[in-house]
């Protein structure tokens, strides 16, 4: 314990000395630092903060030191996160490399692959995107058609991916490709890393019902990748893919929950309050402290209770996995399913509370926050589709967790 206290003191001192003041202020969507070759910093402090944290490995605090990670154990990382939160530090670096590719490489990559790719993820030097889905493949990911042909030293890649987030801003893409056209569906797939800075790779943004989006279509037209970029072995990409999906689910569930809980989460001695109810009162009014719309009030109660119950469940899962010392399991489907459905419901409730004020598309007659909620409401509709639909999650739960016959 005294070790941990010492660690806390060191950490606090280091953060005090190294986290620029401007990186302790609230941030907007546009302030997120994703790193990569094409990064444009809005503020030199962003780069300073990313570089310093990357150097220490604290952008990926629990990853092994030999690959540039922080090498912290569970308890130490908890301390680090607490200390970061204490000074309200912004995340130094976000990336799909951190959330998804890195954890998968640590499990499935060769020593060379780890040495080559992970330090660059930690330091924010390379920005990754994900190339899984294809037009028409939908939930049936394994029906993918993008093919990688063996050309001796390298693979020749042809095909198309969709839903590749931020593809137009990324340096590298981790993809599922078909390398065994004659094998059974799941057994002819490989996991391949492809450099996007080549002529054979082009991207095109996708517009959503909510408007502009980070999603792109990505086209491979005689693109190439060296053979050492194959992860997990030839035609064995499906196992890597499934594992990576669990990391993704975990992340999406966490994000969905993040916004959903903001209302009813509660800190130590703070008086409990409800973000939804406070907002609803502003639009609907109140009477003796109670929201002036009993139907809406009951929906908010249900939602708040479930937010708290879900937050407790995420915490419990963390405590349990700390005990068993494992990464996300099939149970992550529960979080993905529940978190995204819960988040969708949250926005439906906001819409009900705000009435016509939540139905503007643009213009000065609506507040910027109102317009953002409208767009975000539409955006949430994709939550239960991306990263595996709710239906797929329920299939996974019934198959892997409940072990029901298939």
């Amino acid at each position: 314990m005294s070790d941990l206290n010492a660690f806390r003191n060191e950490t606090r001192d280091w953060l005090e000395a190294n986290c620029p003041e401007s990186m302790r202020t609230p941030m907007s969507q546009g302030d997120v630092v994703w790193g990569g070759r094409k990064v444009e910093f809005k503020d030199p402090d962003q780069k300073l903060w990313m570089d310093r944290m990357g150097e220490k490995g604290w952008t990926c605090p629990t990853w092994p030191k030999e690959y540039g990670g922080g090498g912290l154990n569970f308890e130490e990382n908890k301390v680090l996160q607490e200390e970061l939160m204490r000074i309200k530090a912004r995340p130094a670096l976000n990336s799909f490399g951190i959330w998804m590719l890195g954890p998968a490489l640590l499990e499935y990559g060769t020593e060379e692959q780890k040495m080559q790719h992970i330090p660059k993820i930690v330091k924010g030097e390379i920005r990754w995107c994900q190339g899984y889905s294809e037009p028409g493949s939908g939930s049936d990911l394994a029906s993918l058609k993008t093919k990688a042909e063996d050309q001796g030293d390298e693979y020749l890649i042809n095909g198309q991916k969709v839903w590749t987030s931020y593809a137009d801003e990324c340096d590298m893409i981790f993809t599922l490709v078909r390398t065994g056209p004659l094998e059974p569906k799941h057994e002819g797939i490989s996991f391949l890393l492809i450099d996007m800075d080549q002529e054979g790779v082009t991207t095109k943004p996708i517009k959503l019902i909510s408007g502009k989006s980070p999603f792109c279509e990505t086209f491979f037209d005689n693109a190439t990748a060296p053979k050492e970029n194959l992860v997990g072995g030839l035609n064995k990409g499906w196992s890597v893919a499934k594992r990576l999906l669990q990391f993704e689910r975990n992340m999406i569930a966490g994000m969905g929950f993040g916004s959903a809980s903001s209302g009813s989460s509660k800190k130590s001695d703070a008086k409990p309050s409800s973000g939804l109810a406070t907002m609803a009162k502003r639009y609907v009014g109140e009477k003796e402290d109670k929201l002036n719309d009993s139907g809406l009030r009951n929906k908010i109660i249900d939602h708040d209770m479930n937010s708290q119950a879900f937050a407790l469940t995420l915490r419990r899962a963390a405590e349990e996995s700390k005990k068993s010392n494992q990464g996300p399991s099939a149970a992550s489907s529960i979080f993905k399913y529940y978190g995204t459905e819960h988040n969708k419901l949250r926005y439906e409730i906001m819409l009900e509370a705000m009435g016509t004020n939540a139905l503007g598309w643009d213009g000065a007659e609506f507040g910027p926050e109102e317009l953002a909620i409208t767009r975000e409401w539409l955006r949430t509709k994709a939550n239960s589709i991306e990263g595996g639909t709710s239906e797929v999650q329920l299939n996974v739960i019934s198959k892997r967790v409940l072990e029901l016959p298939q």
Partner: protein
């Protein structure tokens, strides 16, 4: 009331279906939206609709209409709702035409109803003042000043309010609500178009010392509360019919998708979980159909349960439209959330239409109050 259409209504419905299919399929709505025409509708199409006599369905023959009744215009809206046909018909030919028909004097009827029936004039009803429907206790006031009225206040969510030729304004005159009609160009009217998520036209409108002569008063001073309520029920019923059209189309499109889309080597419509959700939706849609028909025919057949049936229809259809539009997007998967695909339009329309003259909860509460609890 009759729950089966009569011949005349069936004919209107067939005509409307053909029109929507050929003249205003969803691609028409998309075209209007993408043209960024701020009016959000196509005047040529509106002219054709008027030529078919649709703008005069609720108007007596003596003023150039056909007087085919609420059920008649309702079945047309059901078909227009299927393809999301944008037009000023709801505000002009349903809401405002009914207000003038019920409250207006002979001169006003001649002046306005005739021009509505012919399609030369569009109108909008300036009623709402906050983000949720609240037709009573208006803060917009009209103060008598000699032979004139001075109107001050702010209105919001005025459907078609951005470009209608005339506005009917609901204002408090001290002892009740009165209705006034004014040209959109009158001095003292400030119109701010509010682009909505469903790409239809609405506006926030403020009145600053708007001066109107007493000939602009429609109906008795202080005497329009009851008439407004009656016209609101007609309007709620008709908009429910439009929404019901949207429900059916979103469901049909989704059903087709379930039958055609391959996943895991089979049609996704063969997955039992989706089948059951579709079957439950279908049952709900059957209930909606009955509510809409009963409400639409209650006006023409003189039911004593008109307000409750209007609230039943508006609440039930509102709820099921959300269910179906949400499920439609979810069942379409990734393409369902792209702007390129049409199904998201129904999601957007459902939320705006829900707010028109009372959201789901408003009508649930009203239903209970009318039932004595």
């Amino acid at each position: 009331m009759s729950l089966v259409l009569n011949e005349e209504q069936s004919y209107l419905k067939d005509t409307a279906r053909d029109f929507a299919k050929n003249k205003t399929p969803v691609s028409h709505f998309r075209g209007v939206r993408d043209s960024e025409n701020p009016e959000c509708f196509d005047r040529e199409i509106w002219k054709e609709m008027a030529n078919l006599g649709w703008s005069g369905i609720l108007i007596p023959e003596e003023y150039g209409g056909s007087d085919f009744g609420v059920a008649g215009i309702g079945v047309i809206f059901e078909e227009l709702g299927r393809t999301l046909t944008p037009s000023p018909m709801f505000s002009t030919a349903v809401v405002c035409a009914s207000l003038i028909k019920e409250a207006g004097n002979e001169d006003q009827k001649k002046e306005y109803l005739t021009k509505i029936a012919s399609g030369e004039m569009t109108l909008a009803f300036a009623l709402e003042e906050s983000s949720r429907h609240s037709p009573t206790n208006l803060e917009t006031t009209a103060k008598k000043d000699g032979d004139s009225y001075i109107i001050n206040g702010k209105k919001t969510f005025v459907l078609d309010g951005g470009f209608a030729d005339f506005l009917i304004i609901a204002a408090d005159t001290g002892k009740g609500t009165s209705l006034f009609i004014a040209s959109k160009d009158a001095k003292g009217i400030d119109i701010k178009v509010t682009p909505m998520v469903d790409s239809r036209n609405a506006a926030n409108i403020s009145f600053k010392d708007l001066k109107l002569s007493s000939s602009n008063l429609i109906g008795e001073e202080n005497g329009s509360d009851q008439i407004i309520e009656e016209v609101l029920d007609i309007s709620r019923s008709v908009i429910s019919a439009e929404m019901f059209g949207g429900i059916q189309e979103a469901f049909d499109v989704t059903l087709n998708y379930l039958k055609e889309r391959d996943q895991f080597g089979t049609k996704i419509g063969s997955f039992q979980a989706l089948q059951h959700r579709a079957a439950i939706m279908f049952s709900e849609i059957e209930l909606c159909k009955s509510c809409v028909l009963e409400s639409l025919t209650s006006f023409d057949e003189g039911s004593n349960d008109i307000p409750r049936l209007a609230s039943l229809a508006k609440a039930k259809i509102g709820e099921v439209f959300h269910l179906v539009s949400n499920e439609a997007v979810q069942m379409h998967g990734g393409i369902g959330v792209t702007d390129e695909y049409d199904i998201g339009f129904y999601l957007k329309r459902a939320r705006v239409a829900e707010q028109i003259f009372g959201n789901v909860q408003f009508h649930k509460d009203r239903y209970a109050e009318l039932t004595g609890y």
